[in-house]
Each structure stands twice: as structure tokens, then as C-alpha cells.
Amino acid sequence: MCTESGGDPAPLGPDAGNAAGGNGVEVQPRQKILVIDDEEVVLDSCRAILADGGYDITTATDGDEGLRLAAELSPDLVFVDVKMPGLPGMEVLERLRSTDPTIVAIVITGYATVSLAVEAMKRGAFDFLPKPFTPDEFREMTRRGLERRTEVLAQARDRAAAEAAGPVPGAGAGPMAPVPCRVLGRWEETYDTVSLALDPPPGWQGFRPGQFNMLYAFGIGESAISISGDPADGGRLLHTIRKVGKVTESLTSLQRGDVVGVRGPFGTPWPLGYAAGRDVVVVAGGIGLAPLRPAIHELLANRDRYNRVLILIGARTSADLLYPEEIQEWRGRFDVDLQVTLDSATGGWRGRVGVVTTLIPRAEFDADQAVAMVVGPEIMMRFAAAELLHRGMSPSRLFVSMERNMKCGIGLCGHCQVGSKFVCRDGAVFGYDEAETMFQVREV
């Protein structure tokens, strides 16, 4: 594949220099994929599946060989089996990522558990492919991984360019210094809730659904606000803010062209990789829909990766429903089961009235394998979790988003601790098996 010089530049990396062809035209090098698995049959099928894709595929049967080959080849994408004799897969993953943070690594395993998935993500895995996988699943995961690689390299280039352009205001003032970002748009969602669209800070590398930013109103203070936009939209950073105090009052009064301080993204993401192949039940109460919207975007943009997708939304009254146009859009899809219920309504309302937990007993999903993502006021999350567990859902597959007093967002001020967890760093997304103590022990 040739591109003219002046078109897409060859990816950065040790091979960038080799990309130029003899006549000065830049040749797009073949993307390099490395598969590390102790089972030959797995390596053979991976090779066979990707045979005609135009990739350079290399395989290794153990972690040490894998790391050696990775150092030599600088692959774009690596598949690592978790359970291997010798050097464990997680260790290989960590070493790969620490040597080259631009490597995209995907963990494969026959023992898919949530804790494994979370562990892999924490060590820098991009995604998670449970065995056995079909050829289509493997091809799709390869495509996504390489897409991500392109993104990562582009971001690395942007960062280098930004650094060359000069220091960002606040540089040297540490991780507690917010970066100024312009408000691109502002609109009122409900009587006490406003959404702001921000120009992302320089060097912004995107966010994962479930994460939050610390937003700073100059001279007033900071507040932790979930990022509530489409993760695929790198050009705008969306936040939906409820007016509950001095800082949020100030943030919600900002207009287009004003400047907001941003620090982030912080926190743990929703386990969308783990949810592949499963039923996904999203339960959103009130403003809880804001931190779930990015997850919904990602679920619907990759709809064929999941089994059933249910979106259960509760709000106080119809005037308090967030994102009504989007809800309509989602409702119009045939591949989504969307239900809305209100706590209270006047006679003109044609939909359900009753708390959102009433939607759970009759919702159509397979509790044995489903993953749930629940956000709302704590009481609502507690009761919704009870209903989901009553349906037979495993607590390790039920995820909630906790809220606590946050002053720093980076695990240093101590305010957001619940038990041994820092909500800003170990959360805000927690599996219910971890969060159960937080709900059940009073004042913990």
C-alpha cells in the first residue's frame, strides 16, 4: 500500500525511518500483530484467521519469548493469554506496557472473571477477549485494537507537537493545577441542571465511560463532575451539572466563551469490555443517567458485541427527565429495550409511574450472565441492586457508581475514602461485591 508523501504519515516508532520507499514516496508499513499463547492450536487459528488481512503476524508460546519478540518488533497490537506456564500473562502485560505505553494489548483467557478483567484493565489492557472466540470475534477485536493503535500514535504526535509549541498554563504547578478550557456550548437540561460542552485541554487523550473530571470555577472552587458525552467525540467534552452548591451554581452560570478549569480524567471506567457477549442492563435514576450516557453511546455504537441491551430510566417527573431527545432515539431502536418510569406524573403522562426498581422484576434478561450498571441516589442504587440480586444476578457483575466528598480527585486529600477505597482512584465505578459493605455498614 503506498501513500503519497504529504498524505497520512507513517506511524511513529522505530520503524518510521524505514517507511520511505526508494523513490521518496512513503510506504505504509504492514501492521504488526504478536500473539502470545501457550497453546499451539490457538496460535495456529489466530494466524489462519488473519492470514489474508495484510498483517505481519508473529507468535510466541511463552511470556519470555513474547517479550523478546516485542522488544525486537515493536508490534502495533499484542494478544496475551493470561494463563501460561512460566511468566504469567499479567506480568507480560505490565512489562509490555511499561516498555512501550503506545502498545495496544488485548488479554485473552478461558477463565473470564470480572476481577480478572479489572486487573487486566488496571495493568493497561485495552480490551479483553474471552475464549473460546469465533473467527469473527477475533477479527473484530483485531480491527478495534489496530484502530486504537492509530489513535494512540496520533495522540503521541499531537502531544509532541503541543510540547514543542510551549508549556501549558499551569505546567509546573503540579497535578492540582486546572487547565483552562473554553465553553463551546451551554444548555439547560432541567430547572436545576445545565450541560456544558468544553473544548478539551491540549493533550487530552480521551476518556473511558464512567470517568469524571474536576471542574474549577475560577476563584470559587472545584467539583467532581462525571463526563457525560460520547467517548468517540474527541472534539467536545460534555458535562451535565446539577446546581447543589456554590461551585456548581457558578459552573452552571457560565456562558459560551467563558473558561472553566479542567483536571482529569479520573476514576475507574464501566466494564464494557467484560460485558461483551452478555446481556447489559443499564439502570439510571435521575441525574444518574449523566455518567451512564457515555456507556450507552459505546454500547450502541458497538451493538453487535453485546447480547440484549436494556436501558431502564427513572426520574422524578417528566420535566426532570434528562436527554429526552436521545431517549426517544434510543427508544426507536429495535435492538434496545428501553423503559422510562416517573415517580410522579400528571394525567397527561402516557408512560409508567412508579419507582425505577419496579422495572426490574419483569425486565427480560438472563440474570445468570448479565452485567448491570446502576447509577442514581444511593437509596435507589441500594434497592435496585436488591432487586437485581433477587433476580439471580451475581454481585460481581453488578456495578454502581459511588459519590463522596472529593477535594483532590487524585487520592491524596483523604476525603473520599470509604473503607480502604478512595472513590476517586479505586472508583467511582465499583462492583457490588466491593460496594456491598459501603451500602450495608452505616456511616462507614
Binding site: G174, N405, K407, G411, L412, G414
Partner: protein, 370 residues
């Protein structure tokens, strides 16, 4: 294995001078307001010469010794955290600009040399290193911590509330110092054995004129420290303590402590490892200049756990439980070590004399109740 050296009081004066000459601000124990607190040292005469402290739950007072020991006491209400993790510090100063606003990088922090740091304080510095430098690096702590010169002093007499031996943090300094001294006053005289823990420590000892210790001197010093280890007034039973506390969140004893605890936060203020801090954003009257200040906070404060509608931990029982369970159990999950160094400050400075070792023992004793 560097040989043990020895200094006399004049040598110690030279040591302080050598540190000063290298540009350090030399800090150490001094007597002020009826307590031993950190202050600037220009010479050994600035130290609490001939003073000792009498500490017990809820009590602290100074007394005259019948000798001229320079280090004849243990710890006062302060610790190195007073300087490395200051009670109030400007994190950044900013102003409005055409691009929105800009933050000025923080001013150059001073270079500290601490003389007279106790082994428990060395341990607490190590613990705060894990807190502030282990994950996201805290610039305020990091900038002050880098290059700190530590002259430690082994303890030869346990303090009234000390329990460092059972926490594995003393009375001997094991690591983390540039120089460690042990003060000996016996028939042979008044001297300080000295060992270096770093290259620059060895250099400074050289500049102070340290000589090689005579055979009996090193042994006399070691014997004193060993004897101190055996004379501790209290112990913390640490076996299985973290798990015990993790499982005792609903233990009735918390209500018992709550009857006594005033939630005054003294313990967190004097504790050398407590790190919780509030972040306050302010602006001047014009609204053009802003700054962010970090100020010590405490989990005992009512507003500490404020979420909508009120604090999450409203009761005294919940707040005491948070402090103790964090210190002795959850700290392991977060940072890999205990958060307690056995210095006894929380016991001495608690107005009602609550003793953390006794509370741990009480919870352990009442296991069958739960």
C-alpha cells in the same frame, strides 16, 4: 559496614555548622511554651539541654534532668510532617488571562536538615513517602522531601506513651537516615556514637571531626538502646490486628469509645502520618487573582465527609472507627504498611487520654460478643 564513630558536644556543634554551611535550614527539638517543638538550630545550646518530658494519657509536661543530656526526652506534639506536609500551604497562585487563567509555578521550597529525628519519625517519613510519592506524586511534599538531610537520634529511654518496639519502628533507627547518633552519659564521659547512612552523611561526619569510636563506646551505646526496647510502657498487639478491625466495623466497642471521644481532632494533628487535607480556593476582591491553599483537615471534623444533605459520618463512633480502622487496617490495603509508628503522641495529646493500644485490645478481647 562503616565503622562506628564518636563525637563530643563540640563535634556536634561543628556538625550543625557543617549543615548550615551547605545551605540547609537546620531544624531540631527546642523548648518553647512548655513543650519540645521544632525550631531553628544554630548550635547545641539551642537544644533542650538538661530537659526531659513526662508523658501519660492526656498529660505532658517538661522536667529538669539532673544531667546535661541534649536528647534526654522523646517526641513532642510536632513531627517532620509539620515541614514536609505543612499545615497550610499555597498550592498555586493564579490570575485571569486572555486565555482564561494561568497558574504560577510554586516557589522554590527551602532545604531542610533535621537534627534529632527519632526512629519513629524516620518511619513516619517513610510512610508519608508512600502516601505522597507512591501513586500520583504530590508536588508540595515531593519538592520539600527531596534532599532533606536527616540526623537521627536513637532512643535510650522510652517515653511515657511510646510503643515503637511493638510496631517495629524503634527504639533503634534502622534505615532512612544520613547520620544516626546515640547519646551516652556514663563514667567515661558525655559523648555521641555516630554512624553514617549515606555518602553525604559520611562527609558531614568527617567535617564535624568524628573519630573512630573506642571499643567500649559503641557497646555502651548499643546496650542503652537495647535496654530501652525492653522497657516500653505499653505494646500494640499487632498479630492479626488488621483483619480483626476490618471485621469489627459493627463492634459495640465503637459506641463505648464514642462516649469519651470529643472528636477534637488533636490525635490527627499530632499524628506524624495523618495526611488528610482540605483544598480551599479563594480569590481576591477584584476576582482577578486566585489561589488554592491546602490545609490540614481531620476525619474527626464534622464536615469532613460532607455529601448532599449532611456528613456521611455524623456520629463520633463512626469518626473514631474511621480513624483507627484506617490507621491500623485499611492503611495496609492502600499503602502496604501500617499507618501507626507507635510514637504515642495521640495518647499523650488526647484531652481525655484515649489510648489506641487499649482500644485495640478491648476490641480483640470482646470478639465473642460480635
Amino acid at each position: 559496614m562503616t565503622p562506628v564513630q564518636v563525637l563530643d558536644r563540640t563535634g556536634l556543634d561543628r556538625l550543625i555548622g557543617a549543615l548550615s554551611a551547605r545551605g540547609y535550614r537546620v531544624l531540631g527539638p527546642t523548648v518553647r511554651d512548655g513543650a519540645i517543638v521544632y525550631g531553628d538550630l544554630a548550635a547545641t545550646s539551642d537544644l533542650p539541654v538538661g530537659w526531659t518530658d513526662r508523658q501519660s494519657p492526656g498529660n505532658y509536661r517538661l522536667e529538669r534532668r539532673d544531667d546535661d543530656a541534649l536528647f534526654g526526652y522523646v517526641v513532642g506534639p510536632q513531627s517532620p510532617k509539620t515541614y514536609l506536609h505543612p499545615a497550610e500551604v499555597v498550592v498555586w497562585a493564579g490570575e485571569r488571562t486572555a486565555r482564561g487563567f494561568a497558574m504560577a509555578p510554586p516557589p522554590e521550597p527551602p532545604r531542610y536538615a533535621f537534627v534529632g529525628v527519632r526512629p519513629c519519625e524516620l518511619a513516619s517519613i517513610g510512610i508519608q513517602d508512600r502516601v505522597f510519592l507512591g501513586g500520583e506524586r504530590d508536588a508540595v511534599y515531593g519538592n520539600r522531601r527531596e534532599g532533606v538531610f536527616l540526623v537521627a537520634v536513637n532512643c535510650t529511654e522510652p517515653g511515657g506513651t511510646c510503643f515503637c518496639a511493638s510496631m517495629g519502628t524503634g527504639p533503634a533507627a534502622v534505615a532512612g537516615y544520613d547520620i544516626v547518633l546515640t547519646e551516652v552519659i556514663d563514667g567515661k564521659g558525655h559523648y555521641f556514637t555516630a554512624e553514617s547512612g549515606s555518602e553525604r552523611g559520611a562527609e558531614v561526619l568527617g567535617e564535624a571531626g568524628a573519630a573512630e569510636a573506642k571499643k567500649g563506646q559503641a557497646k555502651a551505646a548499643a546496650d542503652l538502646v537495647e535496654s530501652a526496647a525492653g522497657r516500653m510502657g505499653r505494646t500494640m498487639e499487632t498479630a492479626g490486628l488488621a483483619d480483626l478491625l476490618r471485621q469489627s466495623l459493627e463492634h459495640p466497642h465503637w459506641q463505648e469509645v464514642a462516649k469519651r471521644c470529643l472528636t477534637c481532632a488533636n490525635c490527627t494533628l499530632v499524628c506524624p502520618t495523618c495526611f488528610c487535607a482540605n483544598v480551599e480556593d479563594t480569590t481576591d476582591l477584584t476576582g482577578r487573582q486566585a489561589q488554592r491553599v491546602r490545609r490540614w483537615d481531620s476525619c474527626f471534623n464534622y464536615e469532613f465527609s460532607l455529601i448532599h444533605g449532611g456528613p456521611h459520618r455524623a456520629s463520633a463512633a463512626a469518626r473514631y472507627r474511621q480513624w483507627m480502622t484506617h490507621k491500623l487496617a485499611w492503611w495496609f490495603d492502600q499503602f502496604g504498611t501500617s499507618g501507626c509508628v507507635g510514637c504515642g503522641r495521640c495518647i499523650t495529646w488526647c484531652p481525655v487520654g484515649i489510648d489506641i493500644t487499649a482500644e485495640a485490645a478491648a476490641i480483640r478481647a470482646q470478639q465473642e460478643v460480635v
